[in-house]
């Protein structure tokens, strides 16, 4: 194994405080990424400090859930959050820069979301 990588699963309520802890602990925000697994979305926040790699993971049951933006803690987070919004449809509140879905100019909306976790209601449907 090249390096041991820690994975800590947290709830959306813990996100702000945990990310602030990482910042105060001197960690660099490496990336924020999203993965669709059956029935849910995993949002991974990766951090590094002196070659120690830690992931905070949030599991969302629907792409319609809103997460708080971490751009107030790490400014660069807004780039990753806009990316996840455009590829998966997850919304982040209070992003430092909100591209309103125009960060990636894709032919289809939410191209990386294979199955809608919360299907859109059709007009007129009961």
């Amino acid at each position: 194994m090249i390096e041991e990588q820690q994975l800590i699963v947290i709830t959306p309520d813990q996100l702000q405080s945990k990310v602030e802890e990482m910042k105060q602990g001197g960690y660099r925000l490496v990336q924020i990424g999203c993965t669709q697994v059956p029935g849910s979305l995993e949002i991974n926040y990766s951090f590094d400090k002196a070659y120690t790699f830690i992931n905070l993971r949030i599991v969302l049951s629907s792409e319609k859930e809103t997460l708080p933006s971490m751009s107030s803690v790490y400014l660069s987070a807004f780039l990753y959050e806009n990316e996840i919004h455009d590829l998966y449809g997850v919304t982040f509140s209070s992003m430092a820069v909100d591209y309103q879905g125009n960060f990636y100019r894709t032919a289809v909306k939410k191209p990386f979301l294979n199955v809608m976790l919360t299907p859109e209601k059709k007009e007129g449907a009961a």
Partner: protein
């Protein structure tokens, strides 16, 4: 307060080889704010893992970038190898180091040329690329390709470099080192170059770290960080220390890359001297099941390949965080305070690769 003007810069612009757009807020000639836009050519290559089996995808990973293609392929292979608990043979690990460092040398020479072109020193641009061609010739001799090496493979490498060929390459590199020193001395010493680069686009060490900068952009601000120190491939058997400069300006970023050229030559010599005989690959049996974030040091900085697999031949997810994506936020710190004429130099100073970023 002067009147504010917004100047749209890119995505098509003579100094930009690839499409990135900036809304520059100016007060007279001075930049006060910059808002970036990318996503003009997003290719969605990550999603192809759902249709290409995990062995075949190595070819796609190599094609994410036309400059650091080998390291993209290598990082993908490392991610899968870590999930499958595969240990490539030692000779393959050393060959991976040699091709990685040849990639770094040709990439940095390409960047030096582009930078010289950006500040209007055409002959310096041509000399940088003249030497780069010779490095590409070595890459072609050893892999058969100049852009896409096709040498990375899950479990090892596809090709060998014979001991005779290696000696020949080392001899050539000795000559090229003199050429590189001659050209890079101009970058380091010439007053007109210094005039364009010194004190421009300063990013402090705290700012670079907080904004998530990677690679030469981070190290030029005084932060000691080089993913090669993780010891992947055979880097754990090579003696080297990250190249660090402290000024945090365009000149420091240029000097870091120049010093890394000589460091890469030294690493190749060490790898050639320590490379054992033996097989080039281990057999891949079964399908990956698990997840891992592989990290390597590309010429532009740390790249991340997050792979998640479920025991079938198709991965569940592949996420690639490229160094240019990480260096966009620091670019937004470099631009304010600069003049409109500095914009090409400031953008190039992070060595942007939009092809990688629009994976």
């Amino acid at each position: 307060m002067s009147k504010r003007t917004i100047v749209p810069f890119g995505p098509q612009h003579p100094v930009l080889p690839e499409p990135i757009h900036l809304d520059l807020v100016l007060e007279d000639e001075k930049i006060v704010e910059a808002i970036p836009s990318i996503g003009f050519i997003h290719r969605g290559l990550e999603k192809l893992v759902e249709k290409k089996d995990f062995i075949e995808f190595t070819y796609v990973a190599e094609r994410i970038c036309g400059i650091c293609s080998f390291i993209h392929g290598l990082t993908y292979c490392i991610a899968i190898e870590q999930i499958m608990k595969l240990e490539p043979p030692p000779r393959a690990q050393f060959l991976r180091v040699i091709w990685s460092e040849l990639s770094r040398i040709h990439s940095h020479l390409l960047w030096l040329g582009l930078m010289a072109d950006a500040f209007g020193f055409e002959s310096l641009f041509m000399h940088s690329w003249r030497i780069r061609e010779k490095i590409l010739d070595i890459i072609e001799e050893t892999t058969g390709g100049r852009v896409i090496f096709g040498s990375a493979k899950i479990g090892g490498v596809r090709r060998d470099i014979t001991d005779e060929k290696l000696k020949e390459i080392l001899k050539k590199l000795e000559t090229y080192e003199k050429d590189i020193r001659e050209v890079t001395n101009v970058f380091i010493q010439d007053s007109s170059v210094k005039h364009r680069l010194c004190g421009v686009g300063i990013v402090s060490s705290d700012e670079a770290y907080a904004l998530g900068a990677v690679g030469p952009t981070l190290r030029a601000s005084g932060i000691v960080s080089d993913t090669r120190k993780l010891g992947y491939a055979a880097y754990n058997q090579i003696d080297f220390e990250p190249i660090v400069e402290k000024a945090g300006d365009c000149y420091a970023r240029c000097v870091v890359r120049i010093r890394e050229l000589f460091q890469s030559l030294d690493i190749i010599r060490q790898a050639a001297a320590r490379m054992p005989q033996g097989p080039l690959e281990v057999k891949v049996v079964g399908f990956p099941n698990g997840e891992f974030s592989a990290r390597t040091e590309q010429p532009r900085g740390e790249v991340i390949y997050y792979a998640k697999a479920n025991g079938t031949k198709f991965l569940t997810r592949l996420r690639v965080r490229t160094p240019t994506f990480a260096n966009i936020a620091p670019l937004l710190k470099m631009l304010p305070g600069g003049s409109l004429a500095d914009v090409p130099v400031l953008i190039l100073t992070i060595d942007p690769c939009i092809s990688c970023t629009e994976r």
